[in-house]
Each structure stands twice: as C-alpha cells, then as structure tokens.
C-alpha cells in the first residue's frame, strides 16, 4: 500500500512539472494560436544555463535559476520575433509549425555542439532531504514538496495576473478574438511577446525542477517532457490555465502509476494513448470550451 502512495507522490511531483510546462504551452497556444514545438527545448536550455552557473561557476542555485529565467525569457522573445512573427499570417498553418520544429532542432543541435552528447549530472537546486511519514515508511523528498508548492504558486499567480491586470485582460481578449482586440486598441504584438516571455520563464523554472528530480542532462532532455506537457495541455483543455494544471497532474500520476504497475516500456505508449482517446472522445479536453467552426 505504501508503495502505491510513494508512486502517487512521485506522480504528483512529475505532474506538477508537466503542469508548469503545460501552462506555458497552453498560454502560447491560446494567445498566439501556434504550437511552439520548441517549448520543450527552452526547458533544456534553462537546465544547461543553471548547470553552467551553479555547477561550473559555483554560484548559489537561486542566482543560477534567476539567470536562467532571464536568459530563457530573452530566448523566448527573440525566437518569437525572428522566427514566428514573420509567419503569423502565413497562407498555410503548417508554416509556423514547421518553423517551430526547425527552432527545436536548432536548439538541440546547438546544445549538442556546445556541451556534447554525454550526460551531465545535475545537482539538485533543493538541498532539503525531505520528510518521512508513517514512521519512515513513506519518504517524501524535498524536491517533490517544493515542486508541488511552486506549481500551485505559479497557478495562483497566473490566475490573478490574467484576471486582475490590464495586461492579463489583454491576453484574454487576444485569445478570444485577435481582430476585435486590435480594434479595441490592444497592442497584439506586445501581448504575444509578453505571453512568450511568461511561457519561456516558466520553462526555465520547470527545467530547474525537472533536472533536480531527474538529474541527468542531455541536449534531448526537454523534448519528451515538452511533448508530454502538450498532451497534458490538450487533456486539460488547450487555452485553459486551470486545465493545464489538472491535465499535468493527471498525466504525471498516470505515467508514474503505469510505470510502476504495468510496464516501464509501455508507459509512454499509455500516455500518448490518452491523448488519442481524449481527442476522439472530447477534443476540447476536460475544461476546454467548445468553439464552433464558422464558415
């Protein structure tokens, strides 16, 4: 029974990381209407920055994380400006997706060139060893508690930001109707840039937590979690902030439980199977709104 709870806690921890990544995905998808395939690679970039600043240069991890957040934000803004914005009104919706795949490829190979293909071992940014419950039968690691706490904090902050500030309201307006928002005097370019900035900053934080929980770092570290976080965003309802949280947690728990009780090799297949099932049964996800396509 305790092993079940251990799995559940691990699932919550992984799910919280997915949720943070999915929050970035869902905001970018909801507002810029594009699938940023490179989002997962922003995580990897964040991990490497923290690795360089904390492990190699010996800075305190909190400083390293701040540096990573700032640099990832800049990376997100730059990418959007150079690669995505010119294609925003392209004739084919595939154009920007293929470009995003190109950006993902670029970041992975850049990291490969700079850091090499070998696995770097990442020192956890949370030195706390955690707590033991039920007379030591249930060990909860510090990173697990911190991860779950941070994800809840981010969720609350984003909800307040989107619903209470002018910038957040502008985001909602752009996500609902870009043309109308423009007519109301909202600077769409600025709003989309802000969205990318927030999404990329979240990716850096997710990177710090991901690499602390699973401390092996390669240029491909971010790719799979990125794709799974997209699955989580779809599961929760793309464009919905609480949906991303619910989707992320659900997906993390399902993944860890199937890894423990079914087969570690089939866990990924099960996670992707969920995506397929959701899109067939309820394409708008758990909390998504059903928008009719108009001719």
């Amino acid at each position: 029974m305790m092993s079940f709870f251990t799995s559940l806690v691990n699932g919550l921890s992984l799910g919280s990381i997915y949720a943070i990544i999915a929050l970035g995905y869902t905001m970018v998808y909801g507002i810029a209407k594009m699938l940023n395939f490179a989002h997962g690679d922003f995580i990897m970039v964040g991990c490497y920055i923290i690795f360089v600043f904390s492990s190699s240069l010996g800075l305190p991890s909190i400083v390293a994380i701040l540096v990573a957040v700032v640099l990832c934000t800049l990376l997100g803004i730059t990418t959007e400006r150079i690669a995505y914005r010119p294609l925003r009104n392209a004739a084919s919706p595939l154009a920007v997706l293929i470009t995003a795949i190109g950006v993902s490829y670029f970041l992975e190979n850049m990291a490969l060139l700079i850091f090499g293909a070998d696995t770097k071992s990442f020192t956890s940014v949370v030195p706390w060893s955690g707590i033991a419950l039920f007379g030591g039968e249930l060990q909860i690691q510090g990173i697990t508690i911190v991860t779950i706490g941070i994800s809840l904090l981010i969720l609350a902050a984003l909800q307040i930001f989107v619903h209470k500030t002018r910038e957040g309201q502008a985001m909602l307006a752009v996500s609902q109707d870009r043309g109308a928002a423009m007519l109301m005097g909202i600077d769409v370019n600025k709003t989309i840039t802000l969205t990318f900035a927030i999404g990329s900053a979240l990716a850096a934080i997710a990177g710090a937590l991901l690499a602390s929980a699973y401390p092996s770092l390669t240029p491909y570290t971010g790719a799979m979690p990125g794709i799974k976080a997209f699955v989580a965003a779809v599961l929760g309802g793309i464009g919905s902030i609480p949906g991303a949280m619910i989707g992320g947690l659900t997906l993390g728990i399902i993944e860890i439980l199937s890894r423990t009780y079914i087969s570690s090799q089939l866990a990924d297949a099960i996670v992707f199977g969920i995506l397929v099932a959701v899109l067939i049964v309820r394409p708008t996800g758990i909390l998504g709104k059903n928008i009719q396509e108009k001719v």
Binding site: A91, S92, V103, Y105, M110, L113, Q265, F272
Partner: protein
Amino acid sequence: MKKPNLSKKSAGRFTTYAIVAAAWAVLEIMLHTGLMSSHMQGLLVPMAYYAIVAVGLNLCVGILGELSLGHAGFMCVGAFSGALFSLLTAGKLPDGLRFFLALVIGVLLSALAGFLIGIPVLRLNGDYLAIVTLAFGEIIKNIINALYLGIDSKGMHVSFESQAALNMEPEGQILINGAMGVTGTPHDSNFTIAIVLLLLSLVIVQNFIDSMDGRAVMSIRDNRIAAESIGIPVTKYKMLAFTVSAAIAGMAGVIFSHNIATLQSTSQYFGYNVSIMILVYVVLGGIGNIRGSVIAAAILYMLPELLRGLNKYRMLIYSIVLIAVMIFNWAPGAIEKRTRFFDRIRKGIRNGAA
C-alpha cells in the same frame, strides 16, 4: 484525331525518372569500378529508402496538406512485418519470391496501420494532427520495443514481460526478442532493388497527383469547405492519400529491415526524430514538389559524407536553413518583398531592352 502528345506535366515527371535512373547508373558504375569507399557503399540503400519515405511524406504534407510526424512509425510497421514474414519463410521460399511477398505484406500492413490511425487522426487538422501522428508513431515504436514474440509447434506466443514469459518449447524460435529486436532477417535488399522501388513509388505518387483523385485531394488542401460544397467526399480522399502515404513509408521499412543485421524498434531508427528528419528533406526539397523530395533526401543524406569536416555542424546548418526557407517561402512580408524585387528586375529588363 489529335495526336497524343506529352503534356508539360508528364514531361516533368519523366525528367524525375530519368534523374533517378541516371543517378543509379552513375553510382552503380562507381560501385563496380571500386571508386566508392566501403562506408559510402553502406549509405546507398539508406539513401534510397529515405528518399522513398520522403516521397510518401510529401504526398501527405504537400498534396494532402496535413503534417504527419508519425511516418517513422509506418516505416516501423513495414520493417517488422516484412522481417517477420522473411524469418518465418526463410528456406521455404525462393529468395526473390520471399522478398516480393515480404514487400507486399509490409506494404499492406502499413497501409492498414495508416488506415486505422487515419480514422481518428484525419478528423483533426493542423497542429493537433501533427501531434497525434507523432503520438501514434511513438506508440507503435514503444509497443514493438516491448513485444516478445515466439513460435513453436503449439503456435504463436506473445508477451510484453520477458523472453521467459513466452513459455516456449525449447526448440521454438524467438521472432521478436523485446528491445533486442529481430535478428537474422535475410539480407534481401540491395541498391538496385531499392532504386526500382523508389521509381515505383514515384510512379504511384505522380500518377496519383495527376489523377482525378489527386486533384480532389489538392482541392481539399486548398479549401476544405469549398471542396465539400461541390460534393467531394472529404474523408474518403483524405483517407486515401494518407493510406497511400503510409503504405509507401512501409515499403521503405521493408527495404530497411532487409538491409540491417539487427532490427530494433529504437528512437534512433523509428523515433519521431526520424520523422522530423524526413520532414526536413520534404521541406527543403519543396513542399509538394516530388522531385525535390528525392533530390533533397539524396543530397542531404550523402552530404555529410562528402563534407566530413562539416559533419558536426550538419544538423545545425539544416535547422537554420529550414527556418530560413520557411520564412522566405511563406512569410507574407517576405513574399511581398520578393515579388516587388522581381517586378523591379523585370521592369529593369524591359526598360533596358527598349
């Protein structure tokens, strides 16, 4: 009666065939006169099967207008079904017939996989379709990677746990040994066969594009609602194009499995990265341009061999070129600038002539 003359379109088609045939002839001569390093020889068959998948994927991306990131999965289905058939019939059928039947089975099963996956997937479009095809590709790869399959006098044994869980008789034969994959597939494919199959897939795709079905598919790509309103059965044509595209990828898979000693369902061969690599070939060759796909696949696959020093930077360069090509070809701003630029040149020429 009018004389049947070669239209511009089919003339272009024959140019493609001629290019492939000429490349084959040159490479065969190099192969037999010893002008080619042994490493280069090993790259010939992969070059051909990646060109085949690129042709198949271009049918999906360029003609159908839907981005599939799961074609490596269809390759995987073709590779494993073809290899299993060859293993089971090794020694019982003559080599040529066996490979032919393996090819037929691989193509049929990957077409079936494409059809079944197409049912849910083709209800979606754009980004969702891309991610779901990616998901299916990964599901196929992961399931085959975890699969143990054996045969003995009692029939087939299947397990997802371990080789021991198969409960086989001692004289039974292990067909798929989980992550260790399939070993001992006869080495039936060679460069000439691969080129013949490349030509076959080119003929199929080109004829499809020029047929009424192909025009229907392209009309769906250009405007689904308009196509639907003039009575084109959208689902049927999308399924048709997607299934043919998957079948062609499966054909490449059969060549793949009959060219490799140990066939494993790993990310290196069948992961979504492979699908993306093939997509790079398609995009750089020109979306919708079948000849471009073949040329891009051949050049981009061979290039690192010719430029050994650049090998480290190869993928980085590809990614930059990919982004640049997309922006240059698709960005409304870039298109406008380009049109204006060419207009000015044209005007300049006219003025100069006058």
